[in-house]
Amino acid sequence: MQNTNKSRSKDSLKKVLSAQNREQMKYKVRKFIFGSKDTEGAGKLAVIYLLLISIGFVYLYPVLYMISKSFMNLNDLLDTSVNWIPSSLYTNNYVQAFKSMDYWKTFRDSIVIAGVPTLINVVICAIVGYGFARYEFKGKKILIGLLLFSFILPPQATMMPTYVFYTNIGLINSLKAFIVPALLGQGIKSQIFILIFYNFFRQIPKVLIEAAKIDGAGHFRIFRKIALPSAAPAILVVFLFSIVWYWNESYLTQLYVVGAFTSSADTYHWSSLIVSLKNFENSYNNARSVAGSGMVDINESIKMAGTMLSILPLLIMYLVLQKQFVESVDRAGITGE
């Protein structure tokens, strides 16, 4: 009698224990999946990774598509069973695109077209940004408003008179058409760069500048010796973005530098990779008619190879400098209002 009672109580104890255990297990599993307040749960992490990877794939999809298509030969293109991976590494597309774009010359031109205005842009925007940040002159607020306004204004509103103006003073069809606006702080998206420098220079402690002043430094010396060296992250950001935006600008480059309408033989004929990509089909057909039977008819693969070639320099630059790209933005205080 006593024995059975004992065993029963043991049983119930077991039950309670197992129920407790189950509860605990449940709690643990829930904690594992959803996480507590301090740690992320595995399930949550999995969802985050899944989201990131799938969106990342969508992001990369066009690039992957481009790479895969650019290595396909004509048979692969027509064969519906070949979807992603070409049957053989066919590099002839690149050779053809390379030839028709006149790659080396275009590449050199592109670097000059993007590089020279960028250097000027960095210097001028730093000077103007410093002027705005450091001095409290009359009408400063109005001028900053004007700066923002010129950022909002679409370039088309001023394009036609500017084009006429450039033609009259003989800037068109040369690099001068990019250099002069950059010198006057009106290059491509210079307004953003001025604002970046403005934000950055405002964070320099005034004490530092006053100390330099007491030591007998002039205005420009303070700018050169104190402001500029401390602005290295901002300079990097402006440099990188300016180069990218100048490189990718096809519209204004074609209008002002390459010369869409008037091309005279005696001056140097500029070209840039992005512009030649824009007119890829025409230039390819021209090259083909010159070269004769050596080149095949244009197809998607060649176009993709041309696209790839035109963004390749930027891509390489990005892969090398990606850390700077990502980190510099935090340090440059783009968002330091």
């Binding site: 985050i48 990774y49 989201l51 990131l52 992001y59 990369l60 999809y61 066009p62 690039v63 598509y65 481009m66 298509k69 001028i124 000077i127 103007v128 002027g131 705005f132 450091r134 001095y135 400063k140 001028l143 909002i152 679409p154 088309q156 509103a157 394009m159 036609m160 008179p161 500017t162 006429v164 103006f165 010198l183 006057l184 702080g185 009106q186 205005h219 990218v244 490189w247 990718n248 096809s250 519209y251 309408f261 992005i274 512009v275 890829f280 998607e300 176009k303 993709m304 696209t307 963004i311 930027l314 891509l315 630059m317 990005y318 990606q322 850390k323 990502v326 933005v329 783009i334 968002t335």
Partner: protein
């Protein structure tokens, strides 16, 4: 020091500030020469019919004829404008909210963060007009697994056709839209990293969930950035070479029937509309007050109400007291009369 030539306090600083003009001089010249003056000129162009002759431009004043032609006889501009407006109004919120989500995902403590960031910032580098054009021609700019036609049919049933068409175009150009959000992600990410983590810790101690933290800490902090991103997105979408209106203006400028004058009128209208969109979004975002502002306002209003009530009660009390005193006086008088 000479007599009478006293330097007023602040004079020196004022004079030093004049140097500021020297620093911004290049930009000042630039904005007058390359922005304001061309703007005035282009407005002047828009009132003329311009013919390009070998010896220069021949201008013929026509008044507002160019503008009336845009509205009354030319179907291209108005139609382009309609799609542009709808697409911008739909695409801007999509891009901004999407980039905020991506930035928040990237801001978490995850491994391979560098690689993910690299992928998401890639479009900043390569998303230029001709490249996008090439990709769009190959139909590489839409998500392959997404069945757009089905979405289109579904939307067409429930929504008016114009709206459905523009929403469908958002879906079919999904990758293009995603690719345009590189800079926005960058800006949001920089803003998110600047948020003080102790804020989140304090919220956690008070029992705030992640959801609440997002609405009450993250969103109010990045609000200025949202405005910045919206403005940037509108400008980017509008000044893009993929934009049909930009192409139209460019074509008109070179065509025989249009010419500089007509194109200038279009460009002017276009910039006015673009500024209007920017202002619309700015008002929409900055006009909306967040929870705290609203609550603070409510609290202040209640405080005022309470004070008024208090005052009322006090006044009534005073009045009653006075009444009572009068009453008592009268009673006393009466009593004294009675006793007398």
């Amino acid at each position: 020091m000479k007599k009478g030539r006293k330097i007023k306090p602040g004079r020196l600083e004022q004079r030093e500030n004049m140097i500021g003009y020297l620093f911004i001089l290049p930009w000042l010249i630039g904005i007058v020469l390359l922005v304001l003056w061309p703007m005035i000129q282009s407005f002047q162009y828009s009132l003329n019919r311009i013919k390009l002759l070998p010896q220069g431009m021949a201008m013929l004043y026509v008044g507002t004829e160019n503008y009336s032609q845009i509205f009354l006889t030319d179907p291209d501009f108005i139609m382009g404008l309609e799609t542009y407006l709808l697409e911008t109004l739909i695409a801007v919120p999509v891009i901004v909210s999407f980039s905020l989500i991506i930035a928040m995902l990237l801001n978490q403590k995850i491994s391979c963060r560098g690689i993910f960031r690299m992928i998401f910032f890639l479009p900043i580098i390569i998303a230029s007009g001709p490249v996008m054009q090439q990709l769009a021609d190959q139909e590489a700019a839409s998500i392959p697994m997404m069945n757009v036609t089905m979405i289109e049919q579904l939307l067409d049933e429930y929504l008016p056709h114009v709206l459905a068409a523009s929403i469908t175009s958002v879906f079919s150009n999904m990758i293009t839209l995603l690719w345009y959000s590189g800079v926005q992600i960058l800006i949001f990410l920089a803003a998110l990293q600047k948020i003080d983590t102790s804020l989140y810790e304090a919220a956690k101690i008070d029992g705030g969930s992640k959801w609440e933290c997002f609405w009450k800490i993250t969103l109010p902090t990045v609000k200025p950035m949202i405005l910045l991103n919206v403005v940037y997105t509108v400008i980017f979408m509008s000044n893009n070479e993929q934009n049909s209106l930009i192409v139209l203006i460019y074509d008109t400028m070179l065509s025989a029937t249009g010419g500089y004058g007509y194109a200038s009128a279009m460009a002017w209208l276009y910039s006015v509309i673009e500024s209007a969109i920017v202002i619309f979004f700015a008002v929409l975002i900055m006009g909306r007050k967040d929870v705290y502002e609203r609550r603070a306002k409510k609290y202040r209003r209640e405080l005022k109400k309470e004070k008024r009530l208090e005052k009322k009660i006090r006044k009534r009390g005073e009045r009653n007291e006075r009444k009572y005193a009068k009453h008592k006086q009268k009673q006393e008088q009466r009593q004294s009369e009675k006793s007398a």
